[in-house]
Symmetry: C2
């Protein structure tokens, strides 16, 4: 009778602290999310376990998965594939568990295409919200430096528009709290719970 879990995607500009926030979130009290296990073609290292650290697969199997649309997203990095298996994510969601994905912006946009009803959270750097004063106060900066910074900010805002929520990473604990509140609230959203009520009514 429990509804499908939420797919929670945490992303943002590189260097914003996604990994730190994700780690703190998983260590915090009351967190109950499944961390999405990635799939890779690289060699298993000593101490690593298949299905725990990664799903270790051959290059052939990985490419076959890409071809048949079984990867939620993937990238190639120093000769090896890394990606998120769609079947694992769907299976975990179907069990009613929330799946948490921490991922780069490009990957997140691909995930959005395949899972539009996920909860997409964009982590923003603290100084992003203080851009104005930052630029004003650095009055000594070269015009080219200011322009470059403006261009980066513009691209970041453009990326943000593809997300549901913007969370400022001013303090890790505050960012974690904001994300927890977002997840709790998303569980109260009518489109997510109404089917449960409707199904319940139909069964009589």
């Amino acid at each position: 009778m429990s509804e499908r879990g939420l797919l929670i995607v945490l992303s943002g500009p590189s260097g914003v602290g996604k990994g730190t926030v994700r780690k703190a979130l998983f260590e915090s009290e009351g967190s109950d999310y499944e961390y999405s296990i990635s799939m890779t073609t690289r060699q298993m290292r000593k101490g690593e376990e298949d299905g725990v650290d990664y799903f270790f697969r051959s290059r052939e199997e990985f490419e076959e998965r890409i071809a048949s649309g079984k990867m939620l997203e993937y990238a190639e990095y120093v000769g090896n594939y890394y990606g998120t298996p769609l079947d694992y994510v769907n299976k975990t969601l179907d069990e009613g568990k929330d799946v948490f994905l921490e991922i780069e912006v490009q990957g997140a946009l691909k995930v959005r295409e395949k899972m539009p009803d996920g909860v997409f959270i964009f982590l923003t750097p603290p100084d992003f919200s203080e851009l104005k004063s930052r630029i004003v106060n650095r009055g000594t900066d070269e015009m080219s430096v200011i322009n470059e910074r403006m261009q980066v900010a513009r691209e970041e805002v453009e990326m943000m528009s593809h997300y549901d929520y913007a969370v400022v990473n001013d303090e890790v604990s505050k960012a974690v709290e904001r994300i927890q509140r977002i997840i709790a609230s998303e569980h109260c959203r009518v489109p997510r719970v109404i089917d449960r009520y409707k199904k319940m009514l139909k069964e009589f």
Copy 2:
């Protein structure tokens, strides 16, 4: 530079405890919402103040407001009008303050039409989520009683579909916490904050 406040509408079936939850919410720490002051044509009572308890207006002015679309919603009750003035709500939202409206379901649906970007919260009775076991356990009930209860439940679910969030009022303090989390999260929603960033970037 601050964005427009949120219009928060709390509604639900009659008898669900809207007033109690709203009162507890306003008394709880960290609550910072403006309670929407209603407008009425009834006589001011001793101790009441115009613009505090109600906006007291003449029948002519109230009807003129209805005719010119200046009421967010209104109803007539024992010969007097009661309603929510649109200009007051808009002015308060423009000041960046959140406006909180506790209102009956019919009124809430009218508000939704005029303010589609409000946050609409449907408070559900605790036993609503336990409907199944409740009906099963009362095996001795007449079929007509069960059918009537089913019909009420169906209508409630139908109403719920017009809202953004469903909050179970199992315990007042828990319902308050859920509502606070929803409001905090809504303030992080990209469509609500992105204009601030865009405006900021344009000003340079």
